[in-house]
Assembly symmetry: C2
Homo-oligomer: 369 residues x 2
């Protein structure tokens, strides 16, 4: 392979990314810098729709440049409008210096997620610098209508792929084989990438929140956790369903499933602008704790989803920030009991003025196969 993959987006999709720049120009005015250097590749994509793997943005209140290398010149021309494309061959910091001079930048903001290496090179240009943290990530928390549409399409593709694989789930089938089928279907549904390798974890494996598919066959009495996601126009989805294979100890297992389903529904029902993000985590956690399973729920309740499958905000007990309209995030409580197995139910919600718009449409009552 000679370099990262090329996936030009249609212009029709790229309007999802427009307007963000003008918002950002307001926020950098508050930071008292004359220009802003965007180095995080997801943020570059967010602002320009450029999907290449090598690109940096530099903008001032009047001008906007995309600096990429010659390999991506053609792709940038197809994907990007409203930005001057500079396909440099040489040292990026030299290009930045020359643009800064031309556009009279005295103080340049830069993303603190950049490497120390790059920061050091940038320092040597003599431009006065100011580190800015999470400005664009915060903006990305609030989705535009077109972004929500793309995420909804990513959910639809994920669900449609799952429904085609579901009849195949039964005792004797290997975890890996299910995962491979699901990945194949996701691609057939139009997903150009999948956000992460599909997780299929059964029986003992389902008790590990980080399990990967193995050669293990689905056995009688197994919980089967399936955690997967789709993609559309660069945006991701993320879903988990847990099934049960007929077998022993069924009442205990039904009970655990019921608790997680209740925790999932309770937490989702409380989603509303103005509520603290940690409260959503606590609503789910309380249900589980009350039933005596608190120690078996070791992870946070959810996370934002968009151009990255894990992005801000985190739905966690220590996140004091408030829910805002048009956030999109997962709600995914789980219980993992060594020796018995695990259950997780993960849905995606978009926040609307009057409550949650539940994007996941797959049924979530216990499915005993």
């Amino acid at each position: 392979m000679i370099s990262k993959n090329f996936s030009p987006l249609k212009k029709s999709l790229s309007s999802a990314y427009s307007l963000q720049l003008s918002e950002l120009r307001n926020s950098i005015k508050r930071e008292r810098v004359d220009g802003f250097l965007v180095t995080d590749i997801n943020n570059v994509r967010y602002l320009t729709s450029f999907s290449g793997s090598s690109g940096i943005l530099l903008f001032t209140k009047d001008e906007a440049f995309l600096i990429t290398d010659f390999r991506y010149k053609e792709q940038a021309k197809i994907e990007v409008t409203g930005w001057d494309i500079i396909a440099g061959k040489g040292d990026t910091t030299k290009t930045i210096k020359s643009i800064s001079k031309k556009t009279s930048i005295n103080k340049l903001g830069f993303e603190s997620s950049v490497t120390y290496d790059f920061f050091r090179k940038l320092s040597k240009t003599g431009i006065s610098l100011k580190a800015l943290s999470g400005l664009i990530e915060k903006q990305r928390e609030i989705k535009k209508a077109l972004e929500i549409n793309l995420i909804r399409e990513a959910v639809r593709r994920a669900e449609s792929a799952f429904l085609e694989v579901k009849p195949y789930l039964k005792q004797g089938i290997r975890e890996k084989s299910i995962a491979m089928r699901l990945e194949e279907r996701l691609k057939k549904k139009g997903c150009r990438r999948i956000p992460f390798d599909v997780i299929v974890a059964s029986g003992q494996n389902s008790a590990m929140p980080h399990a990967r598919p193995t050669e293990k066959k689905l056995n009688k009495g197994d919980f089967v956790i399936i955690d997967w996601g789709g993609e559309a126009g660069g945006y991701f989805s993320d879903i988990t369903r847990t099934m049960l294979i007929k077998g022993n100890n069924i009442n205990k297992k039904k009970e655990i499933y019921k608790i997680i389903l209740k925790a999932n529904k309770k937490a989702i029902s409380q989603v509303l602008p103005g509520i603290k993000l940690r409260d959503i985590d606590l609503y789910a956690r309380e249900v589980i704790q009350k039933e005596g399973y608190g120690e078996f729920f070791g992870h946070a309740t959810g996370h934002g989803v968009g151009l990255q499958v894990h992005e801000s905000p985190r739905i966690a007990w220590n996140n004091n920030k408030k829910i805002k309209e048009d956030m999109v995030f997962t709600v995914e409580p789980g219980i993992y009991i060594p020796g018995l197995g695990g259950v997780r139910i993960e849905d995606m919600v978009a926040v609307k003025p009057d409550g949650p718009d539940i994007m996941t449409t797959l049924p979530k009552e216990l499915d005993i196969i």
Copy 2:
């Protein structure tokens, strides 16, 4: 998905990673630091065999710590020996500060690839810092015997998967369908991850070095470039083959293929410790230039392969460093002619005292289907 995937390695594989630490201790002595902080996750894996997605190393001449979070505690215990595992819940820089105090570190080396954010937090601890660039990456250029074995196994899996898909290649089959089959086979062969999405580029698409598989069907007269890789024990392989579908203009196409095959063989034949890396690029480039196609070969001739599918060294016209024994890299000249199509032949070589050990074993004479 609640977090990155979990893939514990068997202890038997992890010995590939041992001994690197003692070498590194020598090189940091030269840098006059008392300790070294390793933040790049591939370097962490290289030194410890830890395959989780969250881990930092801190070592001195006598002690060695792996700092991870509670999610990875169990995994670290299984995978890592010889390092004290610290599964912190709190702020990583506080843990670093307390270890530095305990182990009497005055000056701490850190990897310059770390984020500026992390560097800033680290600065606030008051520890004297020194940025070190590419120390471990340079060490990773030279593969141990066990690493070469794993890469060879990754090549074997990639070749074996390809040979099972090859009979399926014919006029009328879609690029995407070929790519999906190959990915499925790679997983069946035991690859836990694949290094990059399989590239299948036919006809006009083959003229773009960055093409992705499309719904296009293989047509008469198409060049079909297939670029894919396998994995074994965390190590990758990377191969390209180009086939031709019977059709018009066949003599011209045969001629181009012949030039690339000659460039590939010529460059490989010159691989020897002590030769400059850029000379390998030039040997390939000269063959192509002499035939008048120089302008259609726009990328470098190759790249190192190991824990990352693209790693140091680059086999490029501007790399003045010398080839060393036990480097492993690709040799992949190509010609891409808009309107006609492209050809690339990519092999992997391990450098031995008397020349190249060609790891790729698939035939590379032109296959006309």
